[in-house]
Symmetry: C2
Subunit: 589 residues, 2 copies
């Protein structure tokens, strides 16, 4: 079974039967119909010839079916990764050129290699660096950029740029060149697709279809838009009127390609490939987890890295470009009843058949229709509800999200991701370096110790207890020294300082050094340092340190024990009830 | 007084009197004598003409005296920063060339600007990224590299390289060119300086000097080595025998220089300048804190950034190179009785006088003597005790240290620092993304809840309590979902899950999303989610979230309250004493 962990196909393959086969085949047929226009569209968004989108939807799906752990995830070209591919490869050569296509292959290869290495080293946790607000902001901003960039095809004008300012500038500069027939096709397609999305399903249900069938039929809307607009072009000879079409697509299975092994190119593409891999991985894992949870299945993020890595390697050897698990197609696959990754393999066969036999039908497909499918698809990614909720809940999280959105819009996708990740990390480190700490006292008649600022508690001028609410690490070691010594200053009666370690899960070597320094400096002032409620693993480590010998005070099992014993010691009391008397005398209980 | 925070001179200047003046003058005289050979030596280590070392010891000291907060810190060229300057500027031009000197000025300017900006933005916490093991490893490795690199001057041969393999290769390749008189001078100087360090002070004490005077006299050892070896060169005409000497040093005050404003050069030097600034800052602050603690004074790290920043800006405008607070000279300054930063200003005057009048005396000073002072100084930085203590205490900290040492030795200082910081950060993030969590139960007859694995505690199959020992952030949000849902699996009787939040100091937006997802998924299994012991600030934030409405269970003030109430609810008991009966029946109390 441990082999099954690395080859999930061995697990689900064993239980495969005719029912699963039927379900998977139905799902595959529906997904294939949906994928054909989408694959063409995303390839063109990435600045690549349309057939590259089909090639990227064949072998990568099969590779994921073998190594991936999600039962319903559909791997292939997706919007955000296509935009990132365009940005990265544009730095090498102009979109559409042979060098550009070669760069896209190298990107797929590098990002496959990065994902595989991360998977083998079990580095999936690095994806945690992308917080939810950063991912959400990034996807919203990318969606806006993609939608804007596609507007040029809707209007039949030229325009370019990787970020909003340049995109808008070129769009407005060329607005006068707007081609009317193209705009009519594009506008109609957008309106039609939005109606398909919102209005077709209710209509079909009213017409008597059951909800599931209505839903799946509505998902085929894009193929209707493709068919109708292609027919319009052919019937009215709109090509002559300036409507740009997809043109001849070679009828062929995916070619065998070899990513260029050029050290210089690799160096230039390494960072973009890393960003693209991690963004693609996070997007894919979120989709996979959502779908798995609905059927109480599990996915293994580290194995997902291997699944997506092999899909990208497969793309780089078969004329494709970077792929990942897409949201829309995975949901369709799931809703259509896919039960195993075999559904993906059947989809691959369907697309291969399309690439071999159906491409001539697509030669007159207007590019504006593809742009319309992209716009409708990505506008659903734009999310205005989440920012409001995050603003209400947490201003720092909102700052990370807003930074990601703004930098992505103004400076492009790569800068956007890096700014978001960098700011989140800096804020996290800042908070870790200034942890919460409280001076605590005993809640009367209990064994509990709480913050003196928030509760009416017992304290003693000879004993100070500081509770540190964080593990002690190199990030806060310096803070610890400063904070503790500040609390001790101007307390002439103080004889005992207790560090209450109930929330300290670790003390690293730098923090140990700081505790030793505190111990040393307190000695000069005649103050003993004690520790209380030290956790098991922390105590095990301390026993291997010098501190255990040098500590002027004691290490107490419980704070209550420490406080009671030191109370007696510091006030020269030798019986527990005298201590009660002392508190009574002070009117504390 | 708030102006005094930014201009500490206003505070100590007010209390200045004739006693302080005398003390400061004495200290300045001693430090000046020590600094002259050291400044020349470090400038040559950095690949710069010797006078640059003198220039870097004049205005920067005065700038620090105005803006710095340490009373005893002596600012100027130091070994590690000199090595980093050599490495960074060598990437621009060969050492000693006019472009190399210009690059060193730009480095000083950039690192001054970086320090000032960090100071103004109060970003001193970023220096926390350099953990104690990383700094310790880096300084040891740099010391070894510097000592090895100076061996070429001791032997009178040529050799170069920024890391050990290249250094050793070039040294061995040229070993046949060894110059005998140079080796004799160098070897004698090393032996003499080591003896001065270890043997002179006891000898002077035995001869009747008081310990402090003996100590300070011993500190003047290097100047004796300089004088004696210069005389030897002049008397025996050793220059003719191939002994390399310092040569003519211009007699002048520091020149006014302008760092080149060249965008390309700035880009190339930005990262080295950042590393150099942070390393210099950490070294300087450690020294300043150690000295301040001895006199119960305080230093302000953010203001130190401004002090060191202005010192470096001053260096860049007066023909210097990057400076920082040095360990050796600061200790001498402190031991010699310096009471205020004015001592530094008097030192600056002393060195300016030396630069004007004494440089002709240094023309015949053998470079081997300067190399000997460097070797003896840096070998005291090499520390073999700390690695052993860290190995015993914490393997991850040792791994960070060992990586820093190895990468510094094999690939140079910049790679070494980055590898150490990167590995420490990666390990910190890894631990933060997999926090400690425990299933807890009630310790019999108390209100305490402890880990079921470590203690004999009361639990109930209908109620599961998970204590999370870490703030919930985006780094562990995904882990939280996986961990909690795993604990819940295969527990058919479970009706209530309590997340005990006593160690949770914050819940960010990503983690909130995960808690909401857990709440949602548990609903399907008929399990209610409760929170207990939520801290005040966390509760304030939660009240602004959806979770507060969607939560299927309750938020309880104390874990004890939650457990008792749910125990009654889940077991259909309605009186507290029945609950006790239940436990009795199970033989638990």
């Amino acid at each position: 079974m441990s082999l099954g962990r690395y080859l999930p196909i061995l697990i689900w393959g064993r239980a495969y039967n005719s029912t699963t086969l039927t379900n998977d085949l139905v799902a595959a047929a529906i997904v294939t119909i949906m994928l054909i226009p989408q694959s063409l569209a995303y390839a063109m968004l990435a600045g690549l010839p349309p057939e590259v989108g089909l090639y990227a939807s064949i072998l990568p799906i099969i590779a994921y079916a073998i190594f991936g752990t999600s039962r319903a995830l559909a791997v292939g070209p997706v919007a955000v990764v296509s935009l990132m591919t365009l940005t990265a490869a544009s730095a090498i050569a102009p979109p559409g050129s042979a060098q550009f296509i070669a760069a896209a292959l190298v990107l797929a290869f590098l990002s496959g290699a990065i994902l595989l290495i991360m998977g083998v080293l079990r580095l999936g946790f690095l994806a945690n660096l992308l917080s939810h607000p950063v991912v959400s902001g990034f996807i919203t901003a990318s969606g806006l950029i993609i939608a804007t960039s596609q507007f040029k095809s809707i209007l039949g004008i030229s325009g370019s740029g990787e970020a909003m300012p340049e995109l808008l500038r070129t769009l407005f500069a060329n607005l006068a060149d707007t081609n009317l027939p193209t705009s009519i096709i594009g506008g109609t397609a957008i309106a039609f697709l939005f109606w398909v999305r919102k209005g077709l399903k209710p209509l079909l249900i009213r017409l008597g279809l059951n909800p599931r069938a209505a839903d799946l039929t509505a998902k085929a809307g894009p193929i209707a838009a493709v068919a109708l607009s292609t027919m319009a072009v052919v019937l009215f000879d709109l090509e002559a009127a300036g409507v740009k079409v997809v043109g001849t697509i070679p009828q062929s299975l995916p070619p065998f390609t070899l990513p260029l092994f050029d050290a210089d190119l690799w160096r230039q593409l390494a960072v973009p490939a890393l960003l693209l891999s991690v963004i693609g991985f996070v997007e894919s894992v979120s989709v996979a987890q959502t779908l798995a949870a609905k059927k109480r299945q599990r996915i293994d993020p580290d194995q997902e890295l291997i699944g997506l890595g092999s899909a990208n390697i497969a793309a780089s050897f078969t004329g494709g470009y970077p792929v990942t698990g897409g949201f829309a197609r995975s949901v369709v696959n799931f809703d259509a009843g896919a039960q195993t990754p075999a559904a993906g393999a059947y989809t691959a066969v369907g697309i291969a058949v399309a690439a071999l036999f159906l491409t001539p039908l697509l030669a007159s497909l207007p590019i504006a229709t593809l742009a319309a499918t992209i716009i409708v698809a990505v506008l659903s990614l734009v999310d205005f509800k989440t920012p409001r909720a995050i603003w209400t809940y947490s201003k720092p999280d909102f700052a990370a999200m807003a930074t990601t959105v703004l930098v992505t819009l103004l400076a492009g996708v790569e800068s956007g991701v890096m700014a978001g990740v960098g700011l989140s990390l800096a804020m996290f480190l800042w908070r870790s370096s200034r942890p919460h700490a409280a001076i605590v006292g005993r809640v009367p008649k209990t064994e509990h110790f709480r913050n003196v600022k928030r509760h009416n508690v017992l304290t003693d001028p000879r004993i100070l207890t500081i509770r540190i609410d964080e593990s002690l690490t190199y990030l806060n070691a310096r803070w610890l020294e400063t904070f503790v010594l500040e609390q001790v200053a101007d307390q002439p009666d103080l004889r005992h300082l207790i560090l209450m370690c109930s929330a300290v899960n670790a003390i690293d070597a730098s923090a140990l050094e700081s505790v030793e320094a505190i111990n040393h400096r307190l000695t000069d002032g005649g103050i003993q340092l004690h520790l209380s409620e030290v956790k098991g693993p922390v105590m095990d480590a301390l026993e291997r340190s010098h501190l255990i010998h040098d500590l002027t005070g004691k290490i107490w099992l419980s704070q209550n024990e420490a406080f009671s014993a030191l109370m007696i010691l510091a006030n020269d009391l030798d019986e527990p009830n005298k201590q009660e008397d002392l508190w009574l005398a002070r009117g504390l209980i």
